[in-house]
Structure formats: structure tokens, C-alpha cells
Symmetry: C2
Subunit: 451 residues, 2 copies
């Protein structure tokens, strides 16, 4: 008999008779002449109930002894289940332990804290919760590639080892080898693929990079890790308004993809982790995103303060970098939908952003979403060679370290815009998981590297 | 008028009348009252010929002055071309320079060497050749994700920063930050995602990782770089024979995808770079891959030597790590098709490979293809805890550094197999490009980091 997957069994249980399955034991409850195994094989997030009976099951005694975590092969009949919330179960005829798990297997049936599970990052993906989260991670990654491929973007793998420190601001990791001066410069791990993506946008019009980026941040919060994945598209001949349209289209595509292709996964998380999740995602898909200039946001916040609203920080003025409490207030209280803030004061934004005609702002935008705050940051890039060089100087950036990048402006660089979406931040949003270390397989941060 | 892409123009030139295009100038030839611009926009590898005439073109004088590399917007009529090998050209009505390129633009019309182009890695993708190669790179990457997604593999992003040195063998890069002891261990850049992928295969059955890997090799050959991408699938409950089937299916899928979706790109390379390319790819798709045990390969090579064939190294014996001349001979002369070599002597293979019952070989396989040699290496993994610990010890690997990995064997690890395909090596094969630095956007190797 051919082995079939649990995914197939769930799809076709009504028409299936005898099946053979290979997978792992989540739990085994032996009640004398009958026993129940919760069984999974990783092909879908659901477990199947296997029933073994003294009267029906060969190797009945072996089945009684199988431990949680073990690999087994079983054969049996798909039969209707009397249990609620379970359409079928499998009455076993054949049973075989392929590999008995040791008794100290850490994932016994009881609930485990996320903290404990982080300490067994080599096993936690076998739990319902992490199996679900990492499956969603995989699906969203595919959706990202799919979206860009459908829209004629070329994927560019920007380098991990780089030499410029333009955005690192002292939070770089350094790379060395046993061979002294392996590289001719200080080598660092990339903090963004944007600069390299810009060079490729000038050849393909539409490109994106999707890869790991690094920040040597000591902060050990729920929202910080040292190694995370970023999606960074870059589009030539694109201005800030077209960019905001692209961001909205992209974010909605990903959420729609998740709602359609991860239906069971999101339903599971909605039930187990975050009861507002599914509705929040639906709301975003249906909403028309609001566009608010930064200066208008400042005006609104000030007027709310003068009407008596109190933030932790009430010192609001043009030129201030808004805190997350202000962003949340705008997005959740004032508008109650996703909000683009754009045209920020130039002194709080990066050197490569396009200076607007007003002489004070740059064509940058942040997308804020209810429940989490900023998930995307983007900008139109400065395309004027002299202006960008001047901006570098005012930021104290050594222009000779990135002359290749600045020189792009001298060779047919008319316009270019792009954005960055932190993949793990976005996954937190899609899954309702509130610690970034729980949406990436083997998280890296200040302190231990245990795996 | 809406802007349309060159890709669309090529598709529909027969039915198109007036079009507006935005892109860049590859060259401009002005012959008095008429001029010709070779124009590209990155949406396909072809250029379009734009014709400007004193009698037809507004801004005729501006058109005459536009330099190579400049960004332009044009409007005109799609008309039949009298030139051979060119179905249409565009007779311009409107012409506008969006951004004039500086006179020192390095990509002037003459042919450039690959070496020179490597020195302008921020611009070389604007040439026909590199535009084609990096487009194929993007398409093959998409094909990889597509293949695995269709076949229910879960994508796992294995960590870049790791702490174990199991496979590095002294060729690791080390990671540090300004903060002393940012990590609690010696942190290195990953040389393979396999160990982590194995942990995930024990939860999902089928997983793959596709990301950057690193080797601090000093060798500066055509085939070595320090940063390259690897595809590493891992499948639980899979043995070496099923693995070879997967490899064959996968490699054929990727080549078929390239032949179908990169038709023009491969035709271009076949004409310009490697006239045997297309046929070589077709041959692989049609071939049934040969499976030869290592010991049989040794027997064949020895008998050929005794019949008078001479290699550079004729000292062939069981236990020898075959050189590429031997592999090529097997694959190109003896069989003339792709060949799996398998069941290698354990002393020349890695500690994690499954020991066969013969006590001397391990269940490893290499795929050799005509024209390039080894492109895939894989193995069934040792699933016996005691055996793998013993193998670690015999290799001098500290077991406590990878105890989490070894412990997987204690928790339901019945079988697992996987392989690694070096993405750039494979791209060299698909494109006929003979330097690995020319199939990755910004290559890193011993010496300079210029971008």
C-alpha cells in the first residue's frame, strides 16, 4: 500500500477506506483494551486520532508502549468519529514503531511556555503552535516571490558581506577570517540591500531583494533580533505616490494570500492565541489606506492635545520623530485603518531620500497598521547627484565609500523609489504572535547562540 | 498616453500603432537628417530601434544630443523595419531626455571584457550579457521556490550567524561587534543550512532552505567565491534511492523551466557565449540519469587505465577522492549523460552520512553532469545516535557543540535524506558562463570589496 499524507486524508476522508500513514506520535493514551494516539506528519497542522484495539490491531502491545515523539507507520480504516469536532478517526490494523523516542523527549503533552520552547528551538516546530507559525512563514515567503514574479520584478540577491556603513550607525557586525586582511576593507554584515537594489533597478526597472539583514543591537525586547529577513523592492521611474500604491497593493496581496491559503492556520491562531486576528486581517484587506502628510499629522496631534488628550510625551512639533504612541493614536483612534504618513522633515530621515521642493521635507512614507504600528518604510530616492552628495556630507557619510552608489545619479538615474518590509515584523502582524523570536526558526540576539 | 513596456511591444507589435516608452539609451547614431537609438527598458533582453527624423520628430535636435546611458521618454509609431533580423522599429514623434548621462559613462558601445565589467558591478547588468544572465538567475530562483511549493515542501530560513564549526574546517568567517562578547560563543557565518533543515524535516517531512552560505577560501579561481547561495532540501522518511529520484526530478524541472521561460535568454547566450548550450540542456532533460556505485566507478577507471587510457593522476584505488578529470571521464566519455555516483568510502565523506551495512561505505551521492562535473551532493543521514556520535569523535568534532543536532536522533528520527545544490554553480551550467563571479550580482572573494 502507498503511504498517503494527513493532508490528503483530511481532504478525502469521506471516500477513503484503508490508508497507510507515516509520521510521529504527539501523544498516546492507553486505556486497557483500547488506546488513542494523536498523530501528525507535518503535511498539515491537524493531528489525526488513531485508535488501536486489542481486537483489531496487530502489534497491539507495541502500540501501547509507543512514546510521544516516536516515528511510526500505521495501516487502518478511516471511520466516522463519535468525538465532537472530529469528523473521522483511523481504526488501526497494522502498527509499527519505526523509531522509539527516548523517555526524556521534552515535548510531553502539557502546555509549554514560549520561553521554554525557545530553549528547544530544534524541536518546537513539532508543537501545533510553532508548526502553524512556521508554515505561515513559508507560505508568506512564497507569496512574496509570487507577487513580484507576477508583476515582472527581477529578484536580486544583494550581498550579505558589505563594506559601507552608510546606514549601520555603529550597529554593524564585523566579518573576519583567520587569514588577516582577507578583505581589503572593514567587512560588515549588510543592514539593507537597498543601495545595491537601486543599481539593479536602473537595469530592470523593477527589482526586489529578499534576504537576511543584520543589526548588532543590544536591546533584547519582543521586537528586536540581530538577524532578520527584509523584503526590499526598488522601482525605477517611480515616484512617491506610485510607491504608496505599490505598497498598498503588495500588503493587501499578502494578507489576502494568507487568508486564502492559510485558512486553517489563521483559524487555529485566532482560536488559540489572538481572537481578534482574523477580523483585523479582513479589515485591512477591505480598507482604503489613508494618506496623511506628516505636517498634517502634527497638526492633528497638537489639536487633540489642546482638546485635552494626554500622551506620555506631549511635546509635539514639526521636526519631531513621532513615538509609537502617537502613530498608534493616529492609526487606531483617528482613522482606525492603515495610514500612510509621508513627506517627513528631512532631518529625521536618511540621506538618500528625495528632497521636496519645500526645502524642508523628503519624499518618504511609513505605513502604519492598527495593532502593530509601522510595518513598511519607503521613499523616493534623491536623484540629483549634487544634492545627494551634499546630504551625505551633512550626515558625515564618507562619499568615497559609496561613490559607486552616488555615481548612479550621473548615469541615467531619473527617478527611483523603494520600500522595506521587515519580514518578521509582518509575520507578527499576520500571526498575532507578540515576540519576534517566535516567528523565525532559530532567532539570534544579544547573548546565546544555542543552535 | 500610458507608457508600455518593451516586453509588451515585442509581444504585440503587429497590432500596436502609437506607443509611449520610458527607458534608457544603449547607443545613439546620428546621421544628419535621421538618427537611430538602440533603446532598452529592462523588461526583456531585447533592445528596440528608435528612429528619429528631422521631418517627423519633435525635439529632433535634443534626440541628436542624447548620450548612451541616458533616461528618455519617447512617443512614436510602430512601423515595419527594413533591417534584417528586426521585425519592427519605432518612428519617433515625441522625444524627451529625462536624465542626460554624464560623458564618462563607462558602457560605451564597444565590447567590454568580463574582467572590466566586474570592476563596474553597479552597471554591468545594463549590458545585454549580464542583463540576460541575472534575469535567468531570477527566473531559476523562482523555479526553485515553485518546485518545492508545488511539492509541499516548507521553506525554512536557516540562520546565517551560527556557532558550530562542524563542516567549516577552518574556512569560516567570524562575526563580531563593537560590543565585546555580543554572542556567548564564537560566532561564524554559516557554511550550510543542512543541520538546521534536518530539525525542521522532523516536523514537516519535507523542507528546504535557500539562502547565502560562506567560505573563507583564499583560492581565487573561476569556480570559487566567498559568498554564494545554496539550495538544501531535506526529507524525512526518505532513503538514498528516493533522494536520487528527487534530485533527478528537481534538476530536470529547473532545466525545463529555463528552456520554457528563458527561451530568448538561452538563445542569446547560445549565440553569443556558448554554442553548445541549448543542446546540452535539452540532452539532460531527455536523459535517464545513470546510477553507478563508487566501487564500480573505480573498477571502470582502473580497467580503462589498464587498457592504456592516461589521466593526469592514474593512481586509482578504493578510498580515493576522485578528481574532476576522473568524474568528467565517467560522465562525458563512458556514459555521456548525467551520472549519480553513490555509496562512497566513509573516510572521504562527512560525519553525518549514513553508514551502509558493508561497514566501509556511506549512503552519499554526487550528481555529475557533462560539461561541468559535480553539481549536487547529497546523502541519507546517519539516524543512529550511537553511530553518529562515534563518527563525530573519529572526525575530532566536539559533540557538545552540536548536541541539539545529534539529539534529534533520540526523538523519532527514523530516516532523513537531503542534498545541496550550489546555486551559482548551477547557473554557470544553465548559462554557459565560465566564471562564477559573473553569475552573482556583487561577488565577494579574497581581496577587494568594491561595492
Amino acid at each position: 500500500m502507498e503511504t498517503i499524507s494527513i493532508k490528503e486524508v483530511f481532504k478525502n476522508y469521506k471516500s477513503l477506506d484503508e490508508v497507510r500513514l507515516v509520521g510521529w506520535v504527539r501523544s498516546n493514551r492507553d486505556s486497557g483494551s483500547i488506546g488513542f494516539i494523536s498523530f501528525f506528519d507535518g503535511t498539515c497542522i491537524n493531528s489525526v486520532q488513531l485508535v488501536y484495539k486489542k481486537t483489531d490491531t496487530e502489534n497491539f502491545d507495541e502500540a501501547r508502549t509507543v512514546r510521544t515523539g516516536s516515528a511510526i507507520m500505521v495501516e487502518g480504516k478511516v471511520v466516522p468519529s463519535i468525538k465532537e469536532n472530529q469528523n473521522f478517526e483511523i481504526l488501526l490494523k497494522g502498527f509499527k514503531i519505526l523509531k522509539q523516542s527516548d523517555e526524556d523527549y521534552p515535548l510531553q503533552k502539557k502546555e509549554h511556555t514560549s520561553e521554554f520552547l525557545r530553549s528547544i528551538a530544534h524541536l518546537r516546530q513539532r508543537t501545533n503552535k510553532f508548526n502553524t507559525v512556521m508554515k505561515i512563514r513559508s507560505e508568506i515567503a512564497f507569496a512574496i516571490h509570487n507577487f513580484f514574479h507576477q508583476n515582472d520584478f527581477v529578484w536580486v540577491s544583494t550581498p550579505i558581506i558589505t563594506s559601507n556603513d552608510a546606514e549601520g550607525a555603529g550597529e554593524n557586525f564585523y566579518v573576519s577570517s583567520k587569514e588577516k586582511n582577507f578583505f581589503d576593507k572593514n567587512a560588515t554584515l549588510t543592514v539593507s540591500g537597498q543601495l545595491h537594489a537601486e543599481a539593479y533597478a536602473q537595469a530592470y526597472k523593477r527589482v526586489y531583494t529578499f534576504g537576511p539583514t543584520f543589526r548588532a543591537e543590544k536591546s533584547n525586547t519582543n521586537r528586536h533580533i540581530s538577524e532578520f529577513w527584509m523584503v526590499e523592492p526598488e522601482v525605477a521611474f517611480c515616484d512617491i505616490n506610485q510607491l504608496m500604491f505599490l505598497i498598498e497593493t503588495f500588503v493587501k496581496y499578502l494578507i489576502r494570500f494568507a487568508l486564502k491559503n492559510c485558512k486553517e492556520e489563521i483559524a487555529f491562531l485566532n482560536k488559540s492565541t489572538d481572537s481578534g486576528l482574523a477580523q483585523r486581517l479582513l479589515d485591512v484587506v477591505d480598507a482604503e489606506f489613508v494618506k496623511v502628510e506628516y505636517k498634517e499629522a502634527i497638526r492633528i496631534l497638537k489639536s487633540k492635545i489642546s482638546e485635552g488628550h494626554r500622551f506620555e510625551d506631549n511635546d509635539i512639533y514639526f521636526g519631531k520623530d513621532l513615538a509609537s504612541e502617537h502613530e498608534k493614536y493616529l492609526c487606531e483612534v483617528i482613522y482606525n485603518k492603515p495610514v500612510f504618513l509621508y513627506n517627513f522633515p528631512q532631518e529625521i530621515k536618511a540621506f538618500y531620500m528625495k528632497q521636496n521642493h519645500d526645502g524642508t521635507t523628503v519624499a518618504a512614507c511609513d505605513l502604519l497598521v492598527p495593532g502593530i504600528g509601522e510595518i513598511v518604510g519607503g521613499s523616493q530616492r534623491e536623484d540629483d547627484y549634487k544634492k545627494i552628495v551634499k546630504r551625505c556630507q551633512s550626515f558625515g557619510i564618507k562619499t568615497d565609500e559609496i561613490d559607486w552608489y552616488l555615481n548612479l545619479r550621473r548615469y541615467g538615474y531619473f527617478k527611483s523609489s523603494g520600500f522595506g518590509l521587515g519580514f518578521e515584523r509582518f509575520l507578527m502582524y499576520i500571526t498575532g504572535i507578540n515576540n519576534i523570536k517566535d516567528v523565525i526558526p532559530f532567532p539570534r540576539s544579544y547573548g546565546p547562540i544555542n543552535f
